[in-house]
Amino acid sequence: MNTYRFTFRDATLDFLPSGALHWPDEGLLCVSDLHLGRSERYARRAGALLPPYEARETLTRLQADIDATAATTVICLGDSFDDDAAAAGLDEPVALWIARLMAGRRWVWIEGNHDPGPVELGGTHRDALTLGPLTFRHIATADAVGEVSGHYHPKARIAGRARPCLLADRQRLILPAYGTYTGGLRSTDPALTALMAADARAVLTGPRPVPIPMPR
């Protein structure tokens, strides 16, 4: 797999083409903003009936990343479900699939703004988790150091194509959304330019992750 390897607060990390973050020394895989159940939530709220395949598509990619990295710990960085009702209403094949992925490894659900409550799928539920030099939480905080978060769905444009991306500076990482039906927020948005240091990089997802200076 073509990964982008970099050092962050003394941890050696790999950013994967899919948008997942791998920490080989800890056997840890981190993904953010899966938004499982999004199509069901749209339908429930009398919106459009989207193709109901996004959970399988997301889980197919997650399964591939877990298999490729042989991760023993998986952290889902919040907004794993589009809302609490979506978590409760997962159809059976999807719920079973998640259970299979969770079996035999440590699994941490970080709370997000879409899914504040604990889910009934097992695993550990936390609002944040600190491991060595890194702290995992859903939404970035102003003065954090060594923080890994998600929430913003950052994306950046290069050569005329916008792609989801990782934002990285010396203090923090912001992961792209991993879920299939997730829009993105340009890295040029004030919400992101205010958070990230002037020398921040954006690493674009794609066949081979591509680092560029963060467009701002």
Partner: protein
């Protein structure tokens, strides 16, 4: 002959006017269920359409909506209100006329529903919206007549299909409703009447008037080999403007109109008042130009298709068409804009932008004089529009599927719709129509115990009403001056994203400097004296029609070429000597080295879209054959492919089965397919464009329709929307029909000419813009290279 009531008769007399024969004939047919009137521009069509209404309301005054007038342009509806209220007041008739469009205030709209005027002027979208309300049966309870203006234009887009569905709805509400269609000159009036009314209706053809006075502009400088700007002709066009009262200067794209206008200003030493008008300009800018035009303050207007329709532009005495007209019918309609008077010849000049267009212009003007119009037959009514119509029906009231199906097939475009197709659309609207039946609990439509279908959640009506319509704007951003926030117009989002601060571009004829992209605005400042980058507007690139392409092929084979200017005659002669002249019955392929690459030119004369698709298909075949194609460029006539190795024996490229197979494989990943899907998904209601709340927040909540497309292809490849998308792309952007037509006409007979240098006909292709790199590993390499450069520049590498 029907006599006019005295009020109307004396009004005509007071004006010194006489009704045209076809106007009186329309009055005589006033009681017929449907009539299509075909008359040239300036033939008094609209009065012909309204005369029966005025007579009926004069003889039997009454309250309530009597006549609905529908035009494709908001401005036309408003203009019509002014044009009608004047005479109605002068005749002293007790008739209220109002217009209704997206620009009408909410309060006004409400009042119109509560107490409709006798004559309501509106657009297809506003009518669809009116029909989505529960009170539609009451609003239209007394409707007697519908007048549809510019039927020929509506028939070319999905707006027409939607309108025909709405007319079928109205006819259900009012079985005795009479309809009148007004159309400019078209190639096949009976076919248009079958669009207008299932089974067709009587056509009344007005006297087409005298032949137009049309010629190619003689210029001091010869046109360039390639390009579309026609800058070489500026001094000569300016001379013509001086000789005439008012000149309309038509262009095929907005970008070309902008550049031409800019150059015209630079050459306009006498400071003649000249304006510009196109669809990307801010509304008040356009209105200003329109007002100046009507007041006779302008000597010329540089414009695009936005001035093709309807509005009476006063004293236009010359039409200039810059660039090849591509399509004879549209040219005839444009020419009619000059001398907006019945039975007066229109004067028009064609300005070819390059050598190929000299030939095309000559072929087109011969076709105009022969009254030989072109046009492609319409396909069946698109099913995404039907899906939206089912949603609209559900908004207004619970419906019976059998009754709705029967009603839909009474609309011309859907006359051949099968029940199975209808049921598939209904299933899509109700359940999503997925192989995985995921939405049993959350269906959009539910069937009640009595068999009627209704919305599961009545709150859905708001979202549906906000998204009525079939017009697909590309995503655009407003351009405004940074200092005073004055809006100038719009540019495509993709173009805006490509700008860096300091870049300059043309908009509304002035050069502006890009400052920043804020929220939904492109902030710019004035900039003088620099060479602008060009705004990439959405302006459509038409393909040269089949009939016109045939004429061109016949023209170049003529023994006597004196109709063409000397420079073009010599060029054609040289091509005959060095290579072959392309023929209708054979595909000419030329191979020669140039720029260190193996060059292959295919003369297919199938129109730009098809030649572009052919480029994609052939480079794929060449890739498989190990020829290392690197890129291609397509025009209406030819495709030029460059690569590492020459094509030795081109016949293998044109096997129909191979092309079809390549198309199938290549379709899945194609950007054109995704673009078609986006429109289909919007119209069918899968991905609403507008959300309650602000536009920006709505946009952030959306995700790319390309993801939905990929997901569907992977998990549900037989889904209805993919089927609609394929059907549409084959006809539209991909235009595979024209490739098949080329294969039929040539039977894949190939003439292969191998030379050691560029041939005369191939030379312009090397200057053509719009080169397409062959996708794949190349794209990733490009991204990597640019990223590395950026990192180095930032000192991060």
């Amino acid at each position: 002959m029907t006599a006019l009531p005295p009020e109307i008769d004396s009004w005509f007399a007071a004006k010194g006017w006489h009704p045209h024969p076809h106007q009186l004939e329309m009055l005589a047919r006033g009681g017929d269920p449907a009539t299509l009137l075909v008359a040239p521009t300036g033939g008094g069509k609209t009065l012909a359409g309204f005369l029966p209404t005025l007579v009926e309301l004069t003889e039997n005054p009454r309250k309530g909506l009597h006549t609905l007038y529908i035009s494709p342009l908001k401005a036309l509806a408003a203009d019509m209100r002014r044009n009608l209220t004047g005479p109605i007041a002068e005749m002293g008739l007790p008739i209220r006329v109002e217009d209704r469009s997206g620009d009408t205030t909410q309060a006004r709209k409400k009042a119109q529903r509560a107490d409709p005027p006798e004559i309501l002027l509106t657009t297809p979208e506003s009518l669809a919206l009116l029909l989505s309300y529960e009170d539609a049966p009451r609003v239209f309870a007394n409707l007697e007549r519908v007048v549809v203006d510019e039927v020929h234009a509506l028939a070319e887009s999905k707006r027409g299909d939607q309108l025909m569905l709405c007319l079928a709805r109205l006819q259900t509400l009012r079985p005795d409703l009479r309809r009148v269609g007004l159309s400019a000159t078209v190639e096949d009036p009976p076919a248009l009447s079958r669009f207008f009314m299932a089974g067709g209706c009587p056509v009344l053809t007005a006297d087409p008037g005298p032949d137009p006075d049309i010629a190619m502009l003689t210029t001091t400088a010869p046109p360039p080999w390639s390009g579309g700007g026609a800058a070489y002709a500026i001094p000569d066009v300016l001379e013509e403007v001086k000789k005439h009262k008012t000149t309309l200067i038509f262009h095929n794209t907005r970008a070309q109109a902008e550049i031409f206008f800019h150059n015209l200003w630079l050459a306009n030493d006498e400071g003649l008042p000249i304006g510009i008008h196109h669809g990307s300009l801010a509304l008040d800018q356009r209105k200003k130009v329109e007002a100046a035009m009507v007041a006779g303050d302008l000597r010329a207007i540089v414009c695009t298709g936005t001035l093709d329709l309807g509005l009476d532009w006063g004293d236009v005495d010359l039409v200039v068409q810059v660039g090849a007209p591509k399509n004879v019918k549209r040219l005839v309609q444009r020419i009619g804009r000059a001398n907006h008077r019945y039975n007066a010849p229109s004067r028009a000049l064609l300005v070819p932008a390059n050598r190929w267009e000299v030939i095309e212009c000559q072929a087109a003007l011969e076709a105009v004089l022969a009254r030989d119009l072109d046009g492609d037959p319409r396909g069946p009514g698109p099913r995404d529009v039907l899906c939206q119509h089912i949603l609209i029906a559900a908004c207004s009231a619970p419906f019976d599927a059998d009754a709705l199906f029967a009603e839909v097939t009474r609309a011309g475009p859907y006359a051949a719709l099968t029940r199975a197709q209808f049921d598939e659309c209904l299933d899509f609207v109700a359940t999503g129509g997925y192989a995985l039946r995921a939405y049993d609990r959350w269906q959009r439509l539910k069937q009640r115990a009595d068999g009627l279908w209704q919305l599961r959640d009545p709150r859905a009506t708001q979202l549906i009403r906000m998204n009525i319509g079939t017009i697909q704007d590309t995503d655009t951003l407003k351009v405004r001056m940074r200092q005073n926030r004055k809006q100038l117009g719009e540019v495509e989002e993709g173009f805006a994203a490509s700008l860096t601060p300091g870049d300059t571009f043309l908009i509304g004829g002035r050069i502006v400097r890009f400052e920043s992209l804020k929220e939904m605005f492109v902030d710019v400042s004035h900039d003088r004296g620099r060479k602008p980058k060009i705004a990439v507007f959405a302006g459509s690139k038409f393909a040269t029609s089949t009939q016109l392409s045939e004429r061109i092929l016949r023209l170049i084979h003529r023994v006597d070429l004196t109709a063409l200017p000397a420079h073009t005659r010599e060029w054609i002669g040289l091509q005959r000597e060095v290579s072959h002249l392309p023929q209708a019955g054979r595909i000419l392929v030329e191979s020669f080295p140039h720029y260190g690459r193996a060059q292959t030119v295919i003369y297919g004369f199938a129109g730009r879209g098809a030649m572009q698709t052919l480029g994609l298909l052939l480079t794929r075949r060449m890739e498989e054959a190990g020829l290392g194609p690197l890129g291609f460029v397509a025009t209406d006539y030819a495709t030029l492919i460059w690569g590492l190795h020459p094509v030795e024996e081109p016949a293998f490229l044109f096997s129909r089965q191979d092309l079809v197979d390549a198309l199938e494989g290549w379709l899945s990943e194609n950007a054109l397919m995704k673009r078609s899907f986006k429109a289909v998904a919007n119209i069918a209601g899968l991905t609403p464009r507008n959300f309650p709340g602000t536009r920006a927040s709505g946009r952030q909540a959306t995700f790319s329709s390309a993801i939905l497309y990929d997901t569907l292809r992977k998990y549900d490849p037989n889904h209805l929307l993919l089927d609609i998308t394929r059907e549409e792309a084959m006809r539209g952007l991909i235009d595979f029909g024209r490739i098949e037509e080329m294969l039929d006409r040539t039977d894949a007979r190939v003439d292969h000419v191998i030379t050691d240098r560029v041939t005369p006909f191939a030379a312009p292709l090397f200057l053509e813009a719009g080169r397409v790199p062959v996708e794949g590993a190349g794209r990733e390499a490009l991204i990597q290279a640019e990223a590395e450069a950026l990192m180095r520049e930032a000192g991060l590498a």
